[in-house]
């Protein structure tokens, strides 16, 4: 069965006439690149079928998605070999416009898909381009907007919608094209948890109605997996690895998928860890609910012992005392932060969480002096960012912007790192020594003389972390470091941060990725509407469902599964994989406490 499903020539015996799109031996080479990704991939998407395209970053998933409606190679300069036939039309000979009536796209960035000034005009834009009669345009627009629950807001400016709302609008725009196939490329990578939920609930309704075939590129498997009929896996070289029903492929090839760098659902990873620790589940689960159902009837061991935190050793790295921040002038002036007070311990890994607009970024920008705070409100080991010059600040606290490109100011990687030392007047030998050390540490040694803008996304991110740290700052702040990134790059960065943290650097991260919070943060500060709702250990915060709910956030997937356990109350507070029993944990308990009653 598994062998059959993983046969790389695609689902057997599917007549061509019923397929929404047929991808046949497709290789794509972007102009000015040497490698072909994807490289010889064949699969098809049947009518009404939901197919998930998986693969490590760089495998060419997004490129392939763009080839389905002919944007590759017609709008994006690239060479395409093999063929893509969508709704019977060859995408290399039919125009993107002609194909748009049969396949519609939803992209990652909701802002880059909006053209007009009102929700209704936006949905009408596509059908108007198709030269449909006005009555038909409005009929389609109404149907599409009702389907995603935005009909009531049709007269509003799209800018007034939340991120999730704008992405639902993009789905409505795709539906209004009247196509039978929907291609979604990382539709939730830019959204907060509530937005992700909104988009998937809209997609679930759509899939339930059975009217559309869907091709989905998505790293967030925890949100997507229960929608998907079939997965197609492309490996790191762009070749087709597996193609078949979701459960068979994901569970039948677990080890290969992990080795390939494909992200798996957290519930599945948890089951693997438990299996290694000698707790065999009857089925390998894909969703939190399945994990809970499988785990509950088993006899489980005691949770591994956790040590209470070392309260004595805790010294303060950053003190924030009744910090208020207002922006704008005159009538526009509004208070963004209201009297926030908190103490961040030395060596903490603090996650600042909250929905979009909760004041997270404003808080950390004030702490790091990016936007100077009022005097006397912030103290970082004796330094007040409200009155320090840039040189002092650079040696005290490093700040990594959401988009690393924003902070690059020189023309080579080497100078970028050296800059922070030069403005402090370090001598050349010392500068050289520390820059070389930093280049090696962040794997940028071969990139010394390269322009920072020419680095890959992951390299840019590492360089920006290096520049924040080079002047010796003991505290580093990162604003949404995983926003819009794929899982692999996000993990690479977080491993780097965890390593820095283990060596004593205090790390402050703004994020709304709750599983990231659970896995990496020692402490969590919860923001809502400009106020600090709570600041405590990660375990304490994650155990407080009411608080998470009040902040407009969602429990991470593993916590959701564990909450559902009925027979094992002491397991219910587990939120991160590292807290599950494992082979190693039996003789090597985790160094950091995550127990709820540890404070």
């Amino acid at each position: 069965m598994i062998d059959d499903a993983s046969c790389p020539t695609g689902a057997p015996g599917t007549p061509a006439s019923t397929a929404a799109t047929i991808v046949d031996q497709v290789r794509i080479q972007h102009d000015e690149r040497t490698e072909w990704t994807p490289d010889g991939v064949s699969f098809d998407v049947g009518r009404g079928e939901v197919v998930l395209l998986l693969g490590p970053s760089g495998s060419g998933k997004s490129t392939l998605a763009l080839a389905i409606n002919g944007l590759v190679p017609q709008a994006v300069p690239a060479r395409l070999e093999g063929s893509v036939v969508t709704a019977g039309l060859d995408t290399s000979t039919s125009t993107v416009a002609a194909l748009s009536a049969h396949v519609s796209m939803v992209f990652q960035d909701p802002d880059a898909q909006i053209v007009t000034g009102s929700v209704l005009d936006e949905v009408c834009f596509g059908p108007e381009n198709l030269l449909l009669a006005p009555g038909e345009v409005l009929e389609r627009a109404e149907r599409a907007l009702r389907q995603v629950g935005l009909w009531g807001r049709r007269a509003e400016n799209p800018d007034r919608l939340s991120g999730g709302g704008r992405q639902r609008l993009a789905i409505a725009c795709a539906l209004a094209m009247g196509s039978e196939l929907l291609v979604l490329d990382e539709p939730t990578a830019n959204l907060d948890p509530a937005g992700i939920e909104e988009v998937y609930s809209a997609l679930r309704d759509l899939v339930g109605s059975g009217t559309h075939a869907v091709l989905l590129v998505e790293h967030n498997l925890d949100a997507a997996i229960d929608l998907v009929d079939r997965v197609v896996v492309i490996d790191g070289h762009g070749r087709l690895a597996f193609d078949g029903p979701t459960r068979e492929i994901l569970l039948g090839h677990l080890e290969e998928l992990i080795a390939m760098g494909v992200w798996l659902p957290v519930a599945t990873l948890a089951a693997l860890r438990l299996r290694d620790a000698g707790i065999a589940l009857p089925i390998i689960p894909l969703t939190p609910a399945e994990l809970a159902t499988a785990l509950d009837p088993l006899e489980l061991p005691e949770r591994p012992a956790v040590h209470p935190p070392d309260a004595m050793a805790r010294t303060v790295a950053v003190t924030v005392d009744r910090l208020s921040v207002a922006r704008g002038r005159g009538k526009q002036r509004s208070t963004i932060l209201h009297e926030v007070s908190l103490e961040i311990g030395r060596g903490d890994f603090l996650a600042v969480v909250g929905t979009n607009g909760a004041g997270k970024t404003t808080l950390v920008q004030a702490i790091a002096g990016v936007v100077p705070p009022p005097r006397g409100r912030v103290d970082i080991g004796g330094v007040d960012p409200g009155r320090s010059d840039v040189r002092t600040l650079a040696a005290t606290i490093g700040f990594v912007f959401q988009n690393p490109e924003h902070q690059f100011i020189t023309h080579t990687v080497h100078d970028e790192l050296a800059h922070g030392l030069r403005i402090r007047g370090a001598d050349d030998a010392e500068t050289e020594r520390r820059v070389s050390h930093m280049l090696d540490r962040f794997g940028l040694g071969s990139m010394r003389e390269v322009h920072p803008f020419l680095l890959s996304g992951g390299q840019k991110r590492r360089l920006s972390v290096g520049t924040a740290l080079i002047a010796g700052a003991p505290v580093i702040v990162l604003d949404e470091p995983t926003f819009g990134q794929d899982r692999e790059r996000a993990n690479e960065l977080l491993d780097l941060l965890s390593a820095l943290n283990a060596q004593g650097t205090t790390v402050i991260v703004v994020t709304h990725d709750m599983q990231l919070v659970a896995e990496h943060a020692s402490h969590v500060a919860v923001m809502a509407a400009g106020r600090l709702l709570a600041h405590d250990t990660a375990a304490t915060i994650l155990a407080d469902d009411a608080l998470i709910e009040r902040a407009g956030l969602r429990q991470p997937p593993l916590a959701r599964a564990m909450r559902a356990l009925e027979r094992h109350p002491e397991w219910r507070t587990i939120a991160r994989l590292a807290d599950l029993p494992s082979v190693a944990a039996l003789d090597d308990p985790p160094a950091r406490s995550t127990d709820t009653d540890s404070r």
Binding site: L71, A75, V76, T95, V96, A97, A98, S100, A101, S104, M105, F107, D111, A112, Q113, I114, V115, T116, G117, S118, L120, D121, C124, F125, G126, E128, N129, L130, L131, A133, P134, G135, V137, L138, E139, E142, R154, A155, M177, Q365, A368, G369, V370, V371, V390, R391, L393, A394, F399, F401, E405, H406, Q407, F408, I409, H419, G420, I423, F453, T467
Partner: protein, 280 residues
Amino acid sequence: MSAARIDPYAASAEHPGIRFLYRLNPLAKLGAPLPAMVLLIFTRDLAIPLSFIVLALLIVLVGAQLTRPIALLLLLGLPTVVAVMSFSFGLWSDASRVDHSVLLFQIGDYRFFLGALLLGFATALRLASLLVLALIGGLTSTGPELVRAMIQQLHVPYRIGYTALAAYRFVPRFGHELDVIRSAHRVRGMAQGRGPVASVRRSLGYVVPLLAGAIRHAERVALAMDSRAFGAHPQRTERTIIPFRTRDWVFMILFWLVSASIVWWGLTAGPGPVGGAAIG
């Protein structure tokens, strides 16, 4: 299904009857003052621009629903700006070419004549009249309305019109991005120092990241528009018809006639150009 009921751009009907400007075609509101604006560039006297300011203000006050800040700006801000500009243009004007009969004040060797002030006043009024005339259309039409009218009546290719509209959405985004880049560069200690040289160096540093972001964003928007069949046909459906009606012709022709009368009166019966023999 009633198209008019749910179309947000059909909302002009909400404005009370007297606010007639909202019911005119944006091109009529642009075309009516255009000849006057061209003529104003070449006038040298006070009466013609002043008359046009009064005319345009009357039209805007009656025909448009002004918010309080805009009304204040027009009625108080505009005279203030004109006064300040008159004085400063007067200082700049070539003292040898103005009338020397009335000396207003003297500082050292510098003498400020009434003639110089009047010359400055004329320039300030000219600029103010151009502004107020442009506001007739500017305050009462939206970007989409203007684009639609240009496509429907002037047959501007819709590919250009709608691309311009999409680009218009970029502006606030880039403003925000520029703010972020600025604080990023500042906190990294880029181009310390004051003065124009440091400031120019700093600004040059913003260009690369801003452009990199802009190009990437533009490419994404273009892909999204292509995916939605933009440019598929020589025409696209115009759901909102912006008609050019009799009233638009009436407004334009009346405005032209009044403009011609003002100019004719100004040239024949009015006080004549500033700086000439007519003054003094």
